[in-house]
Symmetry: C5
Subunit: 268 residues, 5 copies
Amino acid sequence: MADAVATPGQTMEQAIETPGETLGATAAALKADKTDWKQIKRQVIGFTFYRILPEWRRLPEAERAEQKRRFAEVVKRWNQPGRMLSLSYSTVGLRGDVDMVLWTISYSVDDLSQMRAELLATPLGGYLETPYSYLSMTKRSQYLIGHEHEGQADSRGFLRPGGQKYIFIYPFWKTRAWYLLPIEERQRLMNEHIRVGHLYPRVKLNTTYSFGLDDQEFVVAFESNFPEDFLDLVQQLRETEISAYTLKDTPIFTCIRMTPEAMLDRLG
Amino acid sequence: MADAVATPGQTMEQAIETPGETLGATAAALKADKTDWKQIKRQVIGFTFYRILPEWRRLPEAERAEQKRRFAEVVKRWNQPGRMLSLSYSTVGLRGDVDMVLWTISYSVDDLSQMRAELLATPLGGYLETPYSYLSMTKRSQYLIGHEHEGQADSRGFLRPGGQKYIFIYPFWKTRAWYLLPIEERQRLMNEHIRVGHLYPRVKLNTTYSFGLDDQEFVVAFESNFPEDFLDLVQQLRETEISAYTLKDTPIFTCIRMTPEAMLDRLG
Amino acid sequence: MADAVATPGQTMEQAIETPGETLGATAAALKADKTDWKQIKRQVIGFTFYRILPEWRRLPEAERAEQKRRFAEVVKRWNQPGRMLSLSYSTVGLRGDVDMVLWTISYSVDDLSQMRAELLATPLGGYLETPYSYLSMTKRSQYLIGHEHEGQADSRGFLRPGGQKYIFIYPFWKTRAWYLLPIEERQRLMNEHIRVGHLYPRVKLNTTYSFGLDDQEFVVAFESNFPEDFLDLVQQLRETEISAYTLKDTPIFTCIRMTPEAMLDRLG
Amino acid sequence: MADAVATPGQTMEQAIETPGETLGATAAALKADKTDWKQIKRQVIGFTFYRILPEWRRLPEAERAEQKRRFAEVVKRWNQPGRMLSLSYSTVGLRGDVDMVLWTISYSVDDLSQMRAELLATPLGGYLETPYSYLSMTKRSQYLIGHEHEGQADSRGFLRPGGQKYIFIYPFWKTRAWYLLPIEERQRLMNEHIRVGHLYPRVKLNTTYSFGLDDQEFVVAFESNFPEDFLDLVQQLRETEISAYTLKDTPIFTCIRMTPEAMLDRLG
Amino acid sequence: MADAVATPGQTMEQAIETPGETLGATAAALKADKTDWKQIKRQVIGFTFYRILPEWRRLPEAERAEQKRRFAEVVKRWNQPGRMLSLSYSTVGLRGDVDMVLWTISYSVDDLSQMRAELLATPLGGYLETPYSYLSMTKRSQYLIGHEHEGQADSRGFLRPGGQKYIFIYPFWKTRAWYLLPIEERQRLMNEHIRVGHLYPRVKLNTTYSFGLDDQEFVVAFESNFPEDFLDLVQQLRETEISAYTLKDTPIFTCIRMTPEAMLDRLG
């Protein structure tokens, strides 16, 4: 299970709802894996959901354009190979409470905070609220965010995030009963789950961990070019036994991948 | 069950709370159905609920009139046969948290987002909030939204949405226990439900699916000219066994169908 | 049970928490009742709870007075015998989230919406929010709202709403378990409930139905000149068996009956 | 039980969580009590929690001072022996959602509403919100609020509210299961509760009743000069059996008693 | 258990989720402890979470700088050895609803309130909201906040709070079932919990008590330089039996320790 998470580039059938490091299957997988995972820095993940105040839309167009330019500039300045990568998404018309999303992958809680502070210090920051924000970490360094690993992307299998048109993000909690099941039972329940995932190869899963860092236990982000595939997958998963161990998996955000400029233009 | 959904033009007794594609009854129905459903594009549905900020009502009448004109213009410009159809409703005086609703049927998540962005970019957008927004899809192309299917409406049975004075919309979640019932038991429970639905032929049901795309599992929209029929139907359904498998079915929105101009005039 | 609701002019012991039309007792009562209920129009009920924005209180006194005059004018213009009746209440100092309440009885969802739209289109509407709003219907025409039934008030027993100094309003949901009880058991539980109601003859009950029209199942409104009677009644009802079938019965609004002008003056 | 409530001047061990008038013990106590309780007016209690809008703090100091003076004037003008008594508390720095509290004891719902309306009609009212408000009544006249009972304070044991530096207020709901327990069992559970209360003689309890008047069943207010005593008492009560019958007992407000002027000065 | 709390300087394995003073183990520990704990003043703890209003970010830079200076001045003026100590943290980019946190340790509820009032009375106070605020006390004087105990820090083991880069704060409620378990069973469950804690020596725990003073039962604050350690610890604790007795442990705040000036600069 856990190794499914550890192996980046994973598809659906591998990594959903990993029951943790203690499963026997994991130990075996780790033994076979020659990578020295302990040496690899954990990644710090931020999903930040912004809402623009309605009064911003009353500003003159030129002022709004300048504010968008300044905001996009900060996003791009912080995209530094080996340090931080931010992907931008619009949710205008798809959620009522959120207008745009930044998915940031970095190596430092402080970098993430500093970058967000610089965004809010731009003129646009005077008109932004943040209705949702999810902080999480990878269990192992999962995403390829710069040149340093460039040559190893295939062999090491780092994910290249943002390669699909849509992302579906939600925070996730399992019931406490799940965590008290014997390992073998969790494995059995996972197997059925994985079998269903196999049926939807066009959906890619990213699992990150928030235990103790934020309200939820996990933040999961599914990437796909086919929303109908994800809809059908989630509906079908309702009929698996493991589904009864989900405590909460909302809110769910459907987001469209676009450049920072396009994301900002969709605000008005 | 699922075929009830698949057959547009359905009335109440056919389509409520379909338990999914895996039911045996569905397989039989599909076999008998000569339509090549796989070829038909899924429709993308948006229910967007707007609230006008009180301060908008303090603006001069002429300014408000101009803002309403610009907003209605965008709604109508996007009503493009074969691409998008938006129906407009007022909830003034019927809900405290929402003033008007757009029900949009399209074929693209991006179109929906872009259209909503253009609405918010009108001057009225500077005074709007969106307290609720539901994103969903049909399982098969369900609504007739333009000339391309005109001649086939009868034979193919596409719904013509918006034909009744009132619509009753709500998001819907079933309990996880429902999804773990054997198919035969779900069928038995559905049968009773359908029997009650038969008693109210003046109520038409539209079921759409949100699994993974938004917080709820379904968005259902009932159309009728007779609110008292819908009230009596829902009360009577409480006494069916299947009702115990409803996890949540609120908020419920009673909406009055009217032109975009009339909907906007009811704002003040 | 249901006939308790059907018989206007009811007191406490008759009509609380009616279990619906299917009870045997109802059939008997209906048989004895010569009124042709099917011919009687159902009434549309709106309970609208307004909150004044704090900034309104900063306006000059003359402007506030003029705004109140215009608002009261609309309330009174829509009080049309046989069409609509609105009763006005203050909750200032009794609730923190609501300042005033309109209880409107009419025959049309559209009339209700149009009347509320005209209220919000007055200058005061620019400073109002609507934290709560309940839409419901009577099962049969219950209230006497104009001259047309004047002569029949006694024989037909229509309620004359608003005859007491206080009203206690709340939305109400029963558990799903209630709806699955056998009729005889529901009858038995109701009998105890009714017995307690008999002890408080100074409390009058109005039950309205919201199934499918709004979030709650019922909206109940108790009228009395004696708040302590209602407090004691509700506390005593906690010890009845039927009380365990209440899912939710909040928020509860204690409201003081007064003229529209007095209600508005209490805003500041 | 109920007589503990009926006997003002009560300490902790007497009056917490009274199970109502129907307990046998009450009947006995009432028989021994020569007071004609039926003749004594019930008291109407309001706990109103105000929050100052941040923008108020941007006003010039002189304007704020004048606004505070006008607000305090109304509080004091309504302190009328035999009619109304208001106690004032600050929660600045102790709660994030509330800045000050008025605890008002009166004999009339309308007086309470009128007094609060006059407070909101002062210039400070243009900058106040009321995040919480609890309306309740005593079961018997419990507090001594003026000269009329002066000579009987000892013999009749009316409470003199406000005699301690701190007050701890919370709304309170019991589970429905509690109300269905046999009287003897409730008595047994209360006895243990009372035994723990005896250990903290420096904590004084005030119980008021909200059934049907407001969302909660009770509003309880504990007075003490020693916050650590109240903390220890509540923690210890968690280990009593009766604690399992608490449905909800939040939010909890820790408040500091001060004059209206000092309370207002703490706003800024 | 309880003595784990009583012994400041504790690490993870000692003090988490202490089941209260009644455990036998505590009595033994106290007997062995020569300190006269009864003589030691209880500490009053405030965790205050501030959010800056977006409009503040529209102010001229010089005005914002001056406002920050005045706010920091108050924080520092109240840092008085033996009376009060405030630690400052930023949450910008880590939470959407909160921008900065003050953790204040003092000996008086009134001091805490007065200090917070002075903060809000600075010009920055006109742009601050307080979305969360937790009031609690230590069971014994736990933190070393000034010179008076300087010489005894080692022997008495007072905590020196703020020594780590990150703090993880959350309010905490146990289920009522926990409090009704026999002492021996609670001890057994704690032992497993402690065993897991031992595995993460780089995480330090601070437990404070809110029973009766605020909504939650406990406020816990974990300090560490290693967020990944805390993440792994919390995930691993999910698999302990005692975890099923957690009622609620959110929201969770990840905060970065910095000077008041740095914390304020991160606002914009």
